[in-house]
């Protein structure tokens, strides 16, 4: 077995250890030094496999307190276990795993309180993070507090022959008019925002939109302004 194959095998066993009990036979290929009980090679290997679970579990528990309280420790642990088996991390930091966990909860429990709680919790975290897009020169452009939504080509967009892009025209607080191209998702977000009475209500309405986009658009249009948008149909 080559250096590369041994690493592959080490990781494979570490991940498998999350769902089954390893045996001495499993570890043979790794060529680990055998030591005397109680710290046998198997128990030594478990330090790594347990740490993998505990590190991610601790981080997710900190980020999803509402979901944790709702489910209880046993069920939350089971959920994290199945999550790390199905979705091994490819992220650089533990904090990023939370975004993936939130998406997984929404897929597993669609339209449920758990999904809503997860979305709210990840939104809260992401709202604290500054976005690269926030730092763009357009930040000043978007800094107006409130908008009046004047025109949109959304209806034309749906009649594909007439329009291939969605534009909106809106007036800011100073009544200055701006136009902007938006994606279909962002348009859906804006339309949902019109009908929402609160941010909670909005989260419920836009379950198909990712938490990251939701966070970005909420910031972009500002929470206060969302409730002030008035669409004037084309």
């Amino acid at each position: 077995m080559s250096f590369k194959e041994r690493q592959q095998q080490f990781q494979k066993l570490l991940l498998e250890a999350q769902s089954r009990t390893l045996t001495n036979e499993d570890l043979k290929a790794l060529n680990i030094n055998c030591d005397e009980a109680p710290w046998t090679d198997l128990r030594r290997f478990q330090v790594y496999s347990k740490a993998y679970f505990l590190r991610i579990y601790k981080s997710l528990k900190e980020d999803f307190l509402l979901v944790f309280d709702h489910l209880g420790e046993k069920e939350f642990k089971r959920l994290v276990k199945s999550f790390i088996q199905e979705t091994p991390s490819t992220f650089t930091s533990l904090a990023q795993i939370s975004t993936s966990f939130a998406s997984q909860l929404q897929l597993k429990f669609p339209q449920s309180l758990i999904a809503e709680q997860a979305k709210l919790e990840i939104l809260k975290i992401l709202m604290e993070y500054t976005s690269e897009r926030d730092m763009s020169p357009r930040q000043e452009f978007w800094s107006s507090q409130r908008y009046t939504f004047l025109k949109t080509s959304y209806d034309l967009y749906h009649q594909k022959n007439l329009c291939t892009k969605i534009y909106i025209v809106y007036a800011d607080r100073e009544n200055e008019t701006h136009s902007q191209e938006v994606t279909e998702k962002e348009m859906q977000f804006l339309m949902a925002a019109q009908q929402s009475s609160s941010i909670l209500d909005l989260v419920e309405q836009v379950s198909s939109i990712s938490a990251e986009d939701l966070q970005y658009w909420s910031k972009k249009w500002s929470e206060a302004s969302l409730l002030m948008i008035h669409q004037v149909s084309h």
Partner: protein
């Protein structure tokens, strides 16, 4: 044994792992004493692929205005057989441009295979093949940044039958061939030595002391004679003794406490930091060093 001499990295004195509970203390010059520099976990401040940045970055920039900062990574995965993650290097480079760190460091370990991240410092087999592989990767990273990096020894719980070198031999060989620096974690030396029934003093006396640019001191958890590197406890007496031993060999090394969990109140951590200051001042009266004597070369 080597006598006291100056290493390739400047001695910045007493440092601390900059963690969220300590931001305010580090921003206050009176409270901060005796801290002269700090170290952060790079990954906590890197831009995410989605563009998001840590809300703590602005705090770090404030701290950076007060004291020099070293960037310490956990994802370079120098021992991995995966290709070097260039996206990670690019993002680290962005952070480097913001912070202007003292240096960049990471661990002699691997953290995942096939694009996965296990979020742990996994043990490398100490073979010639692995050493050559790691040397090439360190050289690549150093070429990328245009400067030496520091490579840290990790705590380990398993060792491999086919390893051909002792850990200190492996580290010395790699550091010399890659021309990098070493970050010596004295707690990790102790933890691994106990777990593998080895002599930690042999490690301390044999490591290439002039390549050591930084020292970590930390605590661990004793699980009935087997030690787990938790970095969540006070530094134990054997680790202090090992530090004093290394200090007698090379006193000119920036030394810090790395506390990753169960953060004590600042004044308690300060007491441990003062012990480093005391050790450093006893055998290494920095104030008496002539201004003509450069601390680096």
């Amino acid at each position: 044994m080597l006598g006291p001499f100056k290493g390739i990295f400047k001695d910045h004195g007493v440092g601390v792992g900059v963690r969220r509970p300590y931001f305010e203390a580090l921003l206050d010059p009176k409270l901060r004493s005796p801290v002269q520099w700090g170290e952060v976990i790079s990954e906590n401040y890197l831009r995410w692929e989605s563009g998001h940045r840590s809300p703590q970055l602005q705090k770090l920039i404030q701290v950076r205005k007060e004291i020099p900062i070293a960037l310490h990574g956990v994802s370079l995965s120098l021992g991995s057989t995966d290709p070097i993650n260039k996206n990670y290097l690019n993002r680290l480079s962005e952070l480097k441009e913001m912070i202007h760190p003292l240096w960049i460091s990471d661990h002699l370990c691997w953290t995942g295979h096939g694009g996965h991240n296990i979020h742990d410092l996994l043990p490398v087999e100490m073979t010639q093949e692995a050493a050559e592989h790691i040397i090439g990767r360190i050289q690549y990273v150093q070429d990328y940044f245009g400067e030496r990096i520091l490579v840290e020894n990790v705590s380990s719980y398993v060792s491999f039958k086919h390893s051909q070198m002792k850990e200190w031999e492996f580290l010395n060989y790699i550091a010399q061939k890659a021309d990098c620096g070493l970050l010596l974690d004295i707690n990790n030396i102790y933890v691994s030595a106990i777990n593998h029934s080895q002599d930690p003093y042999e490690f301390i006396e044999s490591i290439d002391a002039h390549r050591v640019g930084q020292i970590h001191l930390a605590g661990h958890t004793d699980k009935g004679g087997f030690l787990i590197d938790t970095h969540d406890a006070t530094i134990c007496d054997p680790v202090w003794a090992l530090y004093k031993k290394f200090h007698a060999i090379n006193p000119y090394v920036s030394t810090m406490i790395e506390r990753d969990d169960k953060h004590p109140p600042w004044h308690e951590l300060q007491n441990e930091l003062k012990m480093i200051q005391e050790i450093k001042s006893k055998s290494h009266p920095l104030k008496k060093v002539s201004k003509d004597t450069p601390l680096e070369f």
